[in-house]
Symmetry: C2
């Protein structure tokens, strides 16, 4: 049994995870930034103990604790090298947590944790696996030789920050033309709003008015209802997503790619045109191809991946 | 002592390589395509024996033979899965070579071999290393955990075929907007010709007339001589190169990237503006950065890498 912790800028989510990756109990507490990291670790420890106790267990039943957090993580030394979200820099999170629990404790980047979670549940033990999340941003994680790969400094796997459009629109990261600026939910909402303005009679306007806002589902819902402008938005968005995936495939030829994040709930409606595009545009035309599928763990992926990353 | 073979569509180059990667003898023979792969292997074997004999050695002194060849290679099974250049498909090259020499024989993709050669000579034994070659195309190789990474099907590492410009110009691979279509020597020559037409008074026209043709050095030579149009071509070309490198860095955060191929002979004149661009545009702003440098082996990289790939 393991503890998986998803340490976010807003909430600390803790889960009790079985050896085969099932969350049997979970809870959360606010991160309450900004505050000293020692207080955050203290809360992580308390919440872990509480959840374990609620299941009638003690911390002695726990084989390891995994912590996923945003930013650049030095897993080898158990240190958050830099996290803008958490306002941490060279923070020895593992050493601090060890003061509470003397057991294997692992820390890794949150996208890497989510990738590892999806890998452990949906990866079929393949050697090479990529996880892409289409959320507020475009995140990702790389599994090579069954292990998370994050570069020599822990800052690798920033798959959302490959260039999609040279000299394209500004990205949050400070660069321009990043995949994330075209393929995130944020980008889709922007693309939807632009189309709504251009086509005020489209179903998107109707749907957004009913929902009270434009979200990542607006264009998809309109497209499914036969709206031409909505269909155009979705088609263009899927092309952006798939075009970035072609780069990823041409580089890695991973055995599997799993697509997660909010948009992935569109399922086959999203996946099938992505597959068609990749099939048509990828470099490899003669050999066995990467299998593309939709994630299944959603928000649990980070907790499951962090927990199982302690498993030897 | 090892034999390294660079099996190309035009020539078979064979080198006798020391344990520390020095070529002490080499030779070549035409590939004479199309012909049966058994005849090609027979020529590879004969040339190997000849070179070894010329050094006063016998094949008993050779610890292994490495073969680099274009296309998708199934290294594990010693098979050329598919090579357009060599007109090979599921060709058991290693098994055939074993008929001549009963010793370790390894086959790998030629760009991977070159990457491994540069890695072994210039890689300082780092864990993660990327080699990029700016030649007729843009090629590359990935070294992770000190080993060549080429995906589950052997077709990975096609670094020239990441998208640089969504919906950009056609690439040889059938896709559009690939990095290769903007950053190869072929692309630079096209960019130079376009600028020469636009600015008939530029030094580029003068230099090309003297050389009898436009080549990858034309714009660089003009730029160095203070030609404004030449400088514009070089500046734009370097931006294309560097923009693709930013994607590579954001994905891999490799400890080292080495840039080879014909254009790399421009040395610091190429490297320094690339470093500036990457520094400004890459995602990682807080942690140790990837070291960029220029290759040193040029055409020998493939032979050295193939040879040393047999070394256990």
């Amino acid at each position: 049994m393991y503890i998986g912790i998803d340490l976010g800028g807003t909430n600390i989510a803790v889960g009790l995870v079985t050896d085969d990756g099932k969350i049997i109990k979970s809870g959360s507490t606010p991160t309450l930034l900004p505050r000293d990291y020692k207080e955050i670790v203290s809360d992580m420890a308390k919440l872990s103990e509480k959840i374990v106790a609620e299941e009638g267990l003690t911390m002695a039943d726990i084989d390891g604790i995994g912590i996923g957090c945003p930013g650049s993580v030095d897993s080898r030394n158990g240190v958050v090298a830099f996290s803008n979200n958490l306002k941490m820099e060279h923070t020895p999170l593992v050493a601090e947590m060890k003061k509470y629990f003397n057991k294997p404790i692992n820390i890794l980047n949150d996208a890497d944790a989510a990738a590892y979670g999806e890998y452990m549940i949906n990866g079929n033990n393949v050697d090479s696996f990529i996880f892409i999340t289409l959320g507020t941003g475009v995140g990702g994680g790389i599994i090579i030789n069954k292990k998370v790969y994050s570069g020599f400094n822990g800052a690798g796997g920033e798959l959302g920050h490959i260039t999609l459009v040279h000299n394209g629109i500004p990205c949050n990261c400070g660069n321009i033309g990043c995949w994330e600026a075209y393929a995130s939910v944020t980008a889709l909402i922007r693309q939807t709003k632009e189309a709504m303005e251009k086509y005020p009679d489209s179903k998107m306007n109707e749907i957004a008015a009913k929902d009270g806002k434009v979200n990542g589902r607006t264009a998809f819902a309109a497209a499914k209802a036969g709206d031409k402008a909505g269909n155009e938005v979705v088609k263009q968005y899927i092309e952006y997503v798939a075009s970035g995936l072609v780069s990823i495939i041409n580089i890695f030829q991973p055995e599997k790619i799993v697509i997660g994040g909010g948009i992935s709930r569109e399922g086959d409606y999203l996946l099938n045109p992505i597959k068609d595009y990749c099939n048509k545009h990828e470099y490899n035309k003669y050999l066995e191809k990467t299998e593309l599928s939709i994630a299944t763990l959603y928000n649990d992926a980070g907790i499951v991946g962090a927990a199982l990353s302690c498993k030897k």
